[in-house]
Amino acid sequence: MLLWIALGLYGLGILFTLPSVASRRPALPRSALIALCCGLALHGAWLGMAAARLQRLPVTDVHSAISFFAFDLTLAFLIIYLRYRLVWLGLFMLPFVFLLALAAALEAGPSFDSASFRGGWVAVHVASMFLGYTGFFITFAAALMYLIQERQLKSKHVRPLYQRLPPLEVCDRLYYRSLIFGNIFLALGLVTGFVWASRTWTGPWQYDPKILATLVTWLIYLVLFSARASGTWPGRRSAYGAIFGFAAVMVTFLGVTFLSGQHGFLPRP
């Protein structure tokens, strides 16, 4: 119930945000901020109650994990909004958040739980993974905004979007910071995942498709990070890289899940 109300508030927040997307003033209407903050608070309360019930971070079933991801994204958006006033980031992020929250709210069945999913390691693993994905999603959004803005500046014509998107250097800063954030948490998620897998899984867990795919994804982001840190890639190439990277995240996150035994998130017979 709490989650449904939170979902409704997110929806309202998106609706209230829409008019300011068209305007060039970089400010969300108060109503949108209030709706989003209330939604976030209720969502947080829902997560808190789930955590109290399960006696741990509620990330170890699909239902709550997706919900946790949506919570992360909204929180990230609000923090970034307070810092950079990027209304347009909301346009990329909030609908995604809404869909995630909807998916979480719809999955009403008894949440999947198995003995192997208990324990602190797995909670830290999943939470870090999602924080990493949150970072990369923002990197992706920053890259998109960078590409659009760069093209407009090069074209020398004032198009409507020109006034509304953030300056190039702001996109770049957001890109770099979220990239670092994502890399740190993905690394943490991988390490905790290895520790947990080596303790509880049986058989050659190293060859699990999801683990391999995640390693590849992480490699992509390491390359992106080193390219950006050393300044060897022009902004545009970095931006394309981030879009490719996020596609890899999506493949890892959604696609490979169905191939993987251990990461199938389905109760095994």
Binding site: S23, R24, Q149, L153, K154, K156, H157, V158, Y162, Q163, P166, P167, L168, E169, V170, S230, G231, T232, W233, P234, G235, R236, R237
Partner: protein, 421 residues
């Protein structure tokens, strides 16, 4: 309602006339007190800026305010009837409301959308209030004008984009760098235009300035003016790498920065972007530099183009603002009308109600004992008739609000229905 507005603006008068007729701030308060003390003037508002003088007054009902205003103009604004009459515009009632709203929205400004006028309007309003010159309808209208100005600012993009070349350059720089704080500007060729552009950039926060010019002394001069550093012209390419923004206006017949040179420059900058503003003709920066990653080259035509597109946008937004103004004028007039007519309408209704009751009383005996249903019918019948009779005159009075014959009509209706006290 008896509103009169007289004024001159950039549309109606050359600057010699405007400056002659402008009223200095220090005399404003005294002038306002004086004006409202005059016979026939209830309220006044004076807006005097370098582009316009507007004098709005609410006169006593049925009195002509124009001669008083002329007299006042002659005393306070050095107005000379023979020389200045053709520069004055006069508005009455509804047109006063519309004019004040348009002024507050910057739709009547020399540069449509320039933002200062709303602040100036507010100053004028505050001054008039302090002088005790705003007490009724004109105060409402002035407050409404400020609200409409804020609404237009909020709901349209009027005045949001740069409409001069040098300001367009600053705006572009902001879209590349975000903040200009800590950015380095390189002035290549010390001309008037580049100086102006540099001044805009510096006032927007750019911190360090480098100047190069063929005559080194001129470079030193300009560098001193901005607190920057002068650089030898032959040494330009070595220093250019430090610059985030290059303003170029040399008289050189060839490109000063070729594509190859720019490539070398950018390679050493770790992908930090560079913005070239090329205002020289013939151009100093090879346009092919724009194809390089992280380099943005705008020549004078590009900047003019941006300004042109911004102006076009401004015109579109002005049309939207006009619509908002029309809507607000109508709403304000309706509100004023109903407020102004309220006592008359109440008096009419009371008068009719009095007649109705007296007549029912008179016929009570002849009607005999009525059932409750019958009594109700008689009530409904008489009430219905009267409200239908009043409907015509009331709508007529409402529709004529703000028009020239309105007060005559109202007093006629009052006399016809016998509500003249």
């Amino acid at each position: 309602m008896n509103l009169v507005l007289v004024g001159i603006s950039h549309r109606s008068a050359p600057v010699e006339v405007r400056e002659r007729m402008s009223l200095h701030e220090s005399r404003l308060s005294a002038a306002l007190s004086d004006l409202v003390a005059r016979d026939g003037i209830r309220e006044a508002l004076i807006l005097s800026t370098c582009n316009r003088v507007d004098l709005a007054a609410a006169g006593e009902e049925g009195q002509e305010a124009e001669p008083t205003l002329r007299q006042f103009l002659a005393e306070y604004h050095r107005y000379d009837p023979t020389a200045h009459d053709r520069h004055l515009y006069w508005y009455r009632n509804a047109d006063v409301v519309r004019h004040l709203f348009r002024v507050a929205c910057s739709l009547d400004s020399m540069i449509v959308g320039e933002p200062q006028i709303l602040g100036q309007f507010k100053q004028a309003y505050l001054a008039a209030r302090e002088a005790g010159a705003l007490s009724g309808v004109l105060r409402d209208i002035s407050e409404q004008a400020l609200a409409v100005g804020r609404r237009v600012r909020r709901e349209t993009e009027l005045g949001a984009s740069a409409v001069s070349v040098s300001y367009a350059a600053v705006e572009l720089a902001r879209k590349i760098f975000g903040t200009l704080q800590g950015k380095t500007i390189f002035i290549l060729g010390a001309g008037k235009m580049s100086e102006l552009a540099a001044r805009h950039l510096v006032s927007s926060g750019a911190s360090s300035i480098l100047v190069a010019n063929r005559t080194f002394s001129r470079a030193e001069e300009l560098a001193a003016a901005f607190g920057g550093t002068a650089v030898q012209f032959d040494d330009v390419l070595n220093h250019l790498q430090r610059a985030d923004i290059v303003i170029s206006s040399t008289g050189s017949p060839d490109f000063v920065v070729t594509r190859a040179a720019a490539e070398a420059l950018l390679a050493g900058r770790k992908q930090r972007p560079m913005f070239f503003i090329d205002i020289a003709v013939p151009r100093d920066i090879d346009p092919a530099v724009n194809d390089l990653d992280n380099a943005f080259v705008y020549d004078i035509d590009d900047l003019e183009q941006v300004v042109k597109e911004n102006l076009a946008e401004r015109r579109r937004e002005a049309a939207r603002a006009e619509k908002i103004v029309e809507e607000e004028v109508e709403r304000t007039l309706r509100r004023l009308a109903s407020r102004e007519l309220a006592p008359t309408i109440v008096a009419l209704e009371q008068r009719m109600e009095g007649i109705r009751r007296a007549e029912i009383e008179r016929y009570r005996g002849r009607l005999g004992e009525l059932t409750p249903a019958q009594r109700e019918s008689v009530e409904a019948l008489t009430r219905g008739m009267l409200s239908k009779i009043l409907h015509g005159p009331i709508t007529e009075m409402k529709s004529r609000v703000g028009g020239p014959e309105h007060s005559a009509l109202v007093s006629l209706v009052r006399r016809m229905f016998g509500v003249n006290e």
